[in-house]
Symmetry: C2
Subunit: 162 residues, 2 copies
DNA sequence: AGCAAGCCTGTTATCATATAACATTCTTGT
DNA sequence: ACAAGAATGTTATATGATAACAGGCTTGCT
């Protein structure tokens, strides 16, 4: 029904990074978007971990690797990535994650660990229907739905339960 | 199935304020919580409108009415109200709304107008099940779910469609 | 009443997040 | 080569949130 929420499941993570970059390049190619150096670097930074990264944390990584790093640089790249579905904003943390499967026009939902800030993306398209009809009833035009589930991931749970 | 999302529906709003304050007093009484002057004032401010109000906007209202107004005062009151379910934080706007029906231990979902910041609270308990099981599958312990639907409310829609 | 403990508030300073505004440079199509 | 639009550089500042510690109020106990 939904894909595996990778963040909390063992997997060969190198593949995520390579695939993420390849997907981004393909998507930008297909839509005539410019995946510039700055945007590429920011996406790489996000892809390093299945974790919410703040804009200023992105900025630190940029300056560590010698790049020109000022707030607008990070925010512009992040805005581009979010606008085109290559990354998502985690509202409850004011932070960002790379998208799992860019280009699919999905309805994402996020499992967010409040301890390690790990983020797993799942698909929530099954969930949205009753809410949509509630919106329609009052004439509300839905543009975007954000579903964020906060809690503790398996590694951060104190109890060994599971 | 869900209650009416009041924000976008005509109603006698005076009742919302009175009922909101009465509910808050009853709830605090029942749980031995102190609904102090500062907390009461902040809740009143939130109840004035079915709209997301930023912490510093709350602060302005406080100082306009002669109250001592510094950031921690507003945030402490807001934290109290949110913690006890008398208000909710709208993550995508970093702002707050009074709760529709405090004390019911509900699973709220919000319709949020990106233009006027109007917020309607609906119940989303029907929505959560598939996501819960996805969480359970990976051993993620859900603590809180936030569902925020952004779009345009009937008054802010350019088209008269509806 | 007197007192202690805990809760609440005041105060100052600072951190964190995000954007405005305008200049400059790069890319692309012609 | 050139013009137009896109992207980036730069400075400053708006907006949102908290740390840390001092002081005052409430409550329950004796």
């Amino acid at each position: 029904m939904t894909e595996n929420p990778l963040a909390f499941v063992d997997h060969e993570h190198g593949g995520c990074i390579a695939r993420g970059m390849a997907d981004a390049e393909a998507l930008c190619e297909a839509r005539s978007l410019r995946l510039t150096q700055a945007r590429r670097r920011v996406l790489e930074i996000l892809l390093q971990e299945h974790r919410a990264i703040g804009a200023y944390e992105v900025l630190n990584h940029l300056s560590e690797s010698g790049e020109n790093a000022h707030p607008p640089a990070a925010y512009r790249a992040l805005d581009f990535l979010v606008e085109h579905g290559l990354a998502h904003k985690i509202e409850c943390l004011n932070a960002f994650v790379a998208c799992n499967r860019p280009g699919e026009g999905h309805a994402p939902a996020f499992l967010i660990c409040r301890d390690c800030r790990g983020v797993a993306e799942t698909d929530a398209s099954l969930n949205s229907t009753p809410l949509d009809s509630a919106a329609e009833d009052v004439g509300f035009a839905v543009e975007r739905t954000s579903i964020e589930v906060e809690g503790l991931c398996p590694s951060c749970r104190p109890d060994a339960a599971r």
